[in-house]
């Protein structure tokens, strides 16, 4: 038993401490967080625009929305990431992580748009009619009455989408970014140890997402204030 713990301690030291390998993971966490935050923000913006296109009365806008969601949902995100990195931004000089964030934002936007569209449609027509009957215009009714209620309804689905997005960023290694996954992988190759680096990677992702879930839970409780009987 003693030799087993000693073995583990040794492997741990080799994987994370020797040659400052923990620093790789820490900078990997930074990359994952950077890419995720920018991608989430972009995803919400794009998602909103595409949702409004999809709900619009204008045929042309509806077609744009439909084609967008169709293409993004119909192709793997790794493929999209590589196309955006190696084809679209091939000759543009921007930092790698920003290109990755744009790619994930574009990807997430398609899913977010469907969530938002469903959320807006879930609000009873009577709410719009009540707003309009008071003399509010369509825009005021949308922003003050429909969207706040829709956001509350779709909040859990949006949280889920963010969590999926964070985990999805684990593929940025394909375009040469050193995120958590890639750092773990790098340590694995350098040390010929699989267990420690991969479990370590998993734990880091898990903790990141746990913290995010807890924070979002607090927000959701605040949103539910008006449901208390």
């Amino acid at each position: 038993m003693n030799s087993w713990t000693a073995d583990m301690a040794d492997t741990f030291a080799r994987c994370f401490i020797r040659e400052d390998r923990y620093k790789l993971l820490i900078s990997g966490i930074g990359v994952t967080i950077k890419v995720s935050i920018v991608a989430v923000i972009l995803g919400i913006l794009i998602g909103f625009l595409i949702a409004l296109c999809n709900l619009s009365k204008n045929k042309f806008l509806r077609a744009i929305g439909k084609i967008y969601t169709d293409i993004i949902r119909g192709t793997p995100s790794v493929t999209q990431l590589m196309i955006i990195y190696f084809v679209i931004f091939a000759t543009v000089d921007i930092e790698k992580w920003i290109i990755a964030a744009i790619a994930f934002g574009i990807n997430s936007g398609a899913y977010v748009s469907e969530i938002i569209r469903a959320g807006i449609l879930s609000i009873d027509k009577g709410q719009t009619e009540a707003g309009r009957s008071l003399g509010l215009n369509a825009y005021q009714t949308m922003t003050r009455i429909v969207i706040p209620q829709a956001l509350k309804n779709i909040f859990p689905a949006l949280c889920n989408e963010f969590i999926v997005l964070i985990k999805e960023t684990a593929i940025v290694g394909y375009v040469g970014l050193m995120d958590i996954q890639k750092a773990g992988d790098f340590i694995k190759s350098a040390t010929y140890e699989a267990f420690m680096p991969l479990i370590g990677t998993a734990i880091i992702y898990y903790v990141l997402i746990k913290v995010l879930t807890l924070i979002l839970g607090v927000f959701e409780n605040k949103l539910r204030k008006s449901d208390i009987r």
């Binding site: 009957s133 008071l134 003399g135 509010l136 009987r229």
Partner: protein
């Protein structure tokens, strides 16, 4: 105040209104009765353009509101509407429900709107509910708030679309009392309802609609005790 000329409304192939002519004068309380599907709710909803007429003209204060160039938002500010399903905004408190429109449309400052809202809540007997959310209220209370919300815009006309049809029987009275009070204060009202007792008591005029046209139009006395039309007689024999 409201003039309706030859109003037609079609939903796809279904013709719901087949030529309505009506003149509502200031201070009148017009009660619209009739069987389901007779077009009475559609008629009411056309008056504030929640439904757009297929044909015909509607004038409000001599302004042609069926004209596509007309600013409907402005017209609607003059016409309060109360719905069968209340349609309170569930994410806002009672007070916010009432003050939202007057403040947003810059009719009042926040403080003025709040003062007006409290005065209206006192009038409908729900002052203590100002900070509550709609989900915490009973159906009757919700409908009284909905009336207060519509009144907060200082409308010239109030439209009621079956305001008591979604209520438990024991709550109908409290809503009708508020409406009665409003009628006595001289408000011009158009009410679609199945409450015949209320119609007889409060209406200055009763309209009986069936199959998309006005079949009978007169004082409550004339319509209820002396209906001329066979269909009116049949309808009343069923509901009275």
């Amino acid at each position: 105040m409201i003039k309706v000329k030859n109003l037609h409304k079609k939903f796809d192939e279904l013709e719901v209104l087949k030529g309505i002519d009506e003149h509502i004068r200031p201070g009148e309380v017009v009660v619209v009765i009739g069987p389901s599907g007779s077009g009475k709710s559609t008629f009411l909803r056309c008056l504030n353009q929640l439904e757009t007429a297929t044909e015909g003209e509607i004038y409000v204060d001599d302004e042609l509101i069926t004209d596509p160039k007309c600013d409907v938002n402005k017209v609607r500010q003059k016409m309060g509407m109360v719905f069968q399903q209340f349609n309170l905004f569930p994410h806002l408190t009672i007070l916010e429900n009432i003050t939202l429109a007057p403040v947003m449309l810059k009719k009042m400052t926040k403080d003025q709107a709040k003062e007006k809202a409290m005065e209206l809540l006192r009038r409908v007997g729900l002052e203590e509910k100002a900070e509550a959310y709609p989900v915490q209220l009973s159906g009757g209370q919700k409908q009284r708030v909905a009336i207060a919300r519509a009144l907060a815009m200082n409308p010239e006309i109030m439209l009621f679309d079956e305001p008591t049809s979604a209520l438990d029987p024991e709550m109908v009275g409290e809503v009708l009392d508020v409406m009665k009070d409003l009628a006595e204060s001289g408000m011009t009202m158009v009410i679609v309802t199945h409450e015949m007792g209320f119609a007889r008591e409060v209406a200055s005029r009763v309209i009986f609609m069936d199959q998309g046209i006005i079949m009978e139009n007169g004082t409550p006395e004339e319509v209820f005790t002396n209906p001329k039309n066979e269909r009116t007689k049949l309808f009343l024999s069923k509901v009275l």
